[in-house]
């Protein structure tokens, strides 16, 4: 393979890997937006909480990675439902801007609770680090492939849930037209709890996936929330497949920009993508239909 082509191929591979992991919390953000109609920035701290729940399961309790990932999902989901019931629900009648700002306050509070409990230091999972596989000149990490598989499995499960189950269909109905859904007798409160559980659970799962590849600290979620938000907006805020497309676009875009930009401009790519998409196609790449 010519060197330039090999480099592009490697960057695309890296971008797809990064994008897939980004897609998991981005789906959470967009699903919550689809049903509750506000961007829930508390996703950042729930990603951190998930990462720490997985850490306790893996390092303190000695569980293998897969059950730990499951626990990260469950704990972050449960905390998501609780914080929504106790805090954010009270703000929703005041409008989406108030609720979004409350979610920022909430995320800072939760992040500091994690900091109080665990301190500021970096922690790693009990996981051996393996050398990369090499396919010709392309390098792929076994851990990344495993993360990719977990992220893909989570997405397949979510899509099947939305497509084939009664509750999943009810969720889509509320996202599509809340008024009509309530006339049909769908319990909106129940659906909002469910979407919070799934959305924040996915955030927790994403937080742990990020941590598996790196290390975790109380800022794990906060560091990636801007890219997650960019992915959701680029794909079309409220569209679940859009979150996947947006995450892959941002992931691959951030990598490919390295061909002609210095790496310190990498984060800017996500935001240039937001500007471009919102200027050319204000509803995002896939529009705002939930599914």
């Amino acid at each position: 393979m010519p060197p330039l082509l090999a480099e592009i191929a490697q960057l695309v591979v890296n971008g797809v890997m990064a994008g897939t992991i980004l897609a998991v919390p981005a789906i959470g953000l967009t699903a919550i937006y689809a049903v509750l109609r506000f961007p829930n920035f508390a996703l950042a701290s729930h990603a951190t909480i998930g990462a720490f729940a997985g850490y306790i399961a893996n390092v303190k309790l000695g569980l293998p990675i897969l059950p730990s990932v499951g626990l990260a999902f469950l704990v972050a989901g449960a905390v998501g439902v609780a914080t929504d019931e106790v805090v954010l629900k009270q703000f929703r009648p005041a409008g989406f801007i108030t609720t979004a700002i409350a979610s920022i306050a909430l995320t800072i509070a939760l992040e500091n609770i994690v900091r109080f409990a665990f301190g500021n230091e970096l922690r790693g999972y009990a996981l051996p680090i393996e050398r990369d596989w090499r396919f010709g000149s392309i390098r792929v990490g076994p851990q990344q492939v495993q993360n990719l598989a977990v992220a893909a499995a989570a997405m397949v499960m979510l899509f099947s849930f939305l497509a084939f189950t009664r509750t999943g269909k009810a969720m889509r109905a509320v996202a599509d037209n809340p008024m009509l859904a309530s006339i049909k007798g769908i319990n909106a409160d129940m659906i909002s709890r469910l979407v919070n559980f799934v959305g924040m659970g996915l955030a927790g799962l994403g937080g742990m996936l990020i941590g598996l590849d790196t290390t975790i600290d109380p800022l794990t979620g906060f560091r990636s929330i801007l890219s997650v938000f960019a992915a959701a907006v680029v794909g079309g805020l409220g569209s679940i497949p859009g979150a996947v497309v947006g995450a892959l676009t941002v992931g691959v875009g951030e990598e490919l920009c390295l061909l002609f930009l210095s790496p310190d401009y990498r984060s800017a790519v996500g935001f240039v993508a937001i500007l471009l998409v919102l200027t050319l196609r204000p509803r995002g790449i896939l529009g705002q239909r939930a599914y």
Binding site: Q10, G124, I129, R131, T214, T215, S267
Partner: protein, 348 residues
């Protein structure tokens, strides 16, 4: 640091002080907060009327206190690291015993070249020190017969640096200088291990802390070399500081505080006058030049009383200053990580 200064002052006073007069150490708390520091400095300058303030630590504090000092002709000694501090228009009323970035980058590059490295690559976090460090290290490597084959500045909040690592490895370096902080250097070390990089990895000690070593599998950090400014552990002044303080290994800051107190006392003795301007005009006369080398304030005072010239060599280093108040040279401690623990490679 306060104990170190007090120990020097007590020793000087016990030996009879200067011209029969005793030194008094007045302590105010800067709370590592610029506002509190300005209030404390105002009190020291206007009420207590001190000739010298020793010990501002945070760069933000020093930057706030320094103008009060030079305007009131009060001498200031500091450990703050920001390069900008000695570039303030302080008219000589400020010295810094901590190496600035420029000196650190040069020393790091000298060490890297001394390890037989021919092709070095530098990966820096996006920070004010990145560009100057890269430029200075490149310059010194070239002088020492080595070469900086490339460098990049990366974004700090990324979860992976695989593509950055690919860029670095394309240049086929035998050493990579990881010029960042703990969260990002941790990721870089992992990504370099995954990429099967076999060359030297070099980083600041503050980026490879004991917590970082705990969080990474031992094979990932094996062989990493870390660097930090060090006290001059081979110097007689360091032995004297150990005895004076009653501790086995005074750290870089305790030795710097030892040197401030000694330099201020000796400058006052040389000038026969206790004012900030007198200290400013005499500090280089007692700390550098061809005078007899002395390793403590008491020893220096004796020679000064006999009318001899002296050159104070400190516990933190030789204490020779440039025109803008930076130290010209100091020692660095190099550790090699093995089995997840740092062990001393050398102090040079």
């Amino acid at each position: 640091m306060l104990k170190a200064m007090k120990a020097v002052i007590d020793e000087v006073n016990a030996s009879g002080g200067v011209s029969g007069r005793q030194f008094e150490l007045v302590v105010e708390d800067d709370e590592t907060n610029p506002e509190a520091a300005v209030r404390a400095a105002r009190k020291l300058i206007d009420v207590t009327k001190v000739p010298a303030i020793m010990g501002t630590w945070a760069s933000a504090v020093t930057t706030a206190v320094a103008p009060l000092c030079w305007e009131s002709r009060t001498f200031l000694t500091t450990v703050s690291g920001a390069d900008s501090i000695t570039k303030l228009p302080h008219q000589g009323y400020l010295i810094r015993t901590q190496p600035n970035n420029y000196l650190q980058a040069a020393k790091h590059a000298e060490f890297i070249a001394s390890m037989g490295v021919k092709r070095c690559y530098i990966m820096s976090i996006q920070a004010p020190f990145s560009q100057p460090t890269q430029e200075r290290a490149t310059e010194v490597l070239k002088q020492k017969g080595s070469q900086m084959v490339g460098g990049l500045i990366y974004d700090k909040d990324k979860t992976t640096y695989r593509s950055e690592v690919d860029q670095a490895l394309k240049t086929n370096p035998d050493c990579i200088y990881l010029n960042g902080y703990a969260p990002d250097v941790t990721i870089l070390l992992r990504d370099l291990y995954r990429a099967d990089y076999k060359g030297l990895r070099f980083a600041q000690s503050y980026a490879v802390t004991s917590k970082v070593l705990e969080s990474l599998p031992v094979e990932v950090t094996e062989g990493v070399i870390t660097v930090q400014p060090s006290a001059d552990i081979g110097s007689p002044a360091y032995d004297l500081a150990k005895k004076r303080l009653g501790i086995a290994e005074p750290d870089s800051y305790e030795t710097q505080a030892t040197d401030w107190a000694s330099l201020v006392v000796l400058s006052i003795a040389k000038a026969k006058m206790a004012t900030g301007t007198a200290i400013r005009d005499n500090v280089r006369k007692i700390s550098q030049g061809n005078g007899t080398k002395v390793y403590s304030a008491v020893e220096g005072l004796k020679l000064l009383a006999q009318g001899k010239e002296i050159n104070y060599e400190g516990a933190s280093g030789p204490c020779d200053f440039t025109d803008i108040g930076d130290i010209i040279d100091c020692k660095f401690r190099y550790n090699k990580i093995s089995g997840g623990k740092p062990s001393l490679l050398k102090v040079a």
